[in-house]
Amino acid sequence: MSGTAAIELRDVCVIYNQGTPDEVAALREVSLIVQKGETLIITGGNGSGKSTLLRAIAGTAPVKSGTILIEGTDVTRWPAHRRARLLGFIYQDPVLGTCPNMTVHENFRLVAGGHWWSLFPEPLRADMAQLTLVHSSGLPLGQKAASLMNSLSGGQRQGAALILALSSNRSILLMDEFTSSLDDQVRTSYLDIIAKELAHRQLTILGVMHDIDGIDVLNCRSIRLAAGIIQN
């Protein structure tokens, strides 16, 4: 099974502040499988462990026990930056997914190809795949290319973070309530961008949301998490 699954969790436990009076079991023996090309949305209330589940997969939450496999490889002991070569992440807060004091163009150059240690000058043009995504999003990112990222509105920055994550060519995308701060119109347009990308290439999405109303366009499966335990 693990050979075909994009993401597989086996009895994963995450405990915060272990051994202190503030000890919290955020995930309790969670097991789940996300197949390649599948979109799975995890719903649940505040404090249910949704975001912790994504962070455990991304390597930024302390996994006490259990196994995490990405595309069949055991990554449980891998550091976050190594897992990030396999995963894209869209945060609820776009500030985390972009460099606020760098220009829009520089943010886009970061996810374009090439080794980070290269001592050759960076081209002063955008990547073609990124340009296509920017054009389809309707965001004024071309005109704002020389502006600082923090000069964009919250919605525009979230759109930029989405395009950055999609253009990084990862086949697995983790989305942490990324539409929660968007109005209905912007939310619909961003979900359309994801739906087009899903139709265009095999992309596996694991997202968390409070509820799944209005995301039919993604044709997804959903499961519910409560108090760190999968309910169905």
């Binding site: 930056h81 997914g97 460099c99 980070w116 290269s118 002063l124 005109q143």
Partner: protein
Amino acid sequence: MIPGILDSACQQGFLYAIAVFGVVLTLRIMNWPDLTVDGSFTLGGAVAATMLTTSHGVWTAMALAAAAGFAAGTVTFLLNRKLGISKILSGILVMLVLYSINLRIMGRANISLLRIDTLFSGFDDRGQGDPLRLAVFLVITAVFFAGLCYLAVTRLGLFLRATGDNEFMVQGLGVNTNWLYLIGLGLSNALVAVSGALVAQHQGFADISMGTGLIITGIAALIIGESLLAGLASVRRLFAKPNPKENAEVPSAGRLLPWKTFGELTAAAIGAFLYFLIIAICLRLGLAPTDLRLATGVLVIVGIGLQLRGPMVETYARGPL
């Protein structure tokens, strides 16, 4: 001939500008207030002076000074990233340790370089205020300025800036940010050590206390330069005609260059010169050398105040809408 006060400010300002470039790299680009520089400046001077007095060549001495500075930055990096000690405390600890190491290297508190061949020996015959002598200092600083501007436009420079801005995003791209912090801190302290080696050769001695307060000198110079550039930009905006099409146009390739970093490096170079000019004027006006720290502190406070309150002043200057 160049007036003595201007000549002195240029010579010192150009050599110290290289150290201020190092401060820019950590403080502004890597977002790491690195106090190691107080120790690595002296380290550069100590290594260079010791090498020169033991009949080694100038370039060997300079290269070893740079390597020693890089090593000092590496230790600060290891204390923070591997032991979890805070950035500020890591720098203070290395600075403290370097005091004893520098004394060990020099063997005493002061090494004289009189009658020793240094980088500037060929210009000793020329008197103070000689334009050619000054041009040498200018060229040395310009080489480092150009090198750092080039670094800023490379992919490595892009990732160094991104790491200082949002480490999470860089990690999210699959990059181990430890390497970037190591390069940033090492390079910064290497620049500071090279500056220390040049200053020791210029003044004719290396002293155990030559780096004391360098971080404040660097910040003061940077703030003076940034305040001047920000002031010039404010005046330009005040008299500029509004262009309604400005935001509608797709920017040209030239506007996509890292102008923010270029500006910070320019501010460092101009600020270092102005800092030493202001200090020289203060001394000429009768300020006691013991009050120099007070003057530097006031300069930093006024500079930061102008940076923080400058936009408010500009709004008042524009008057009611």
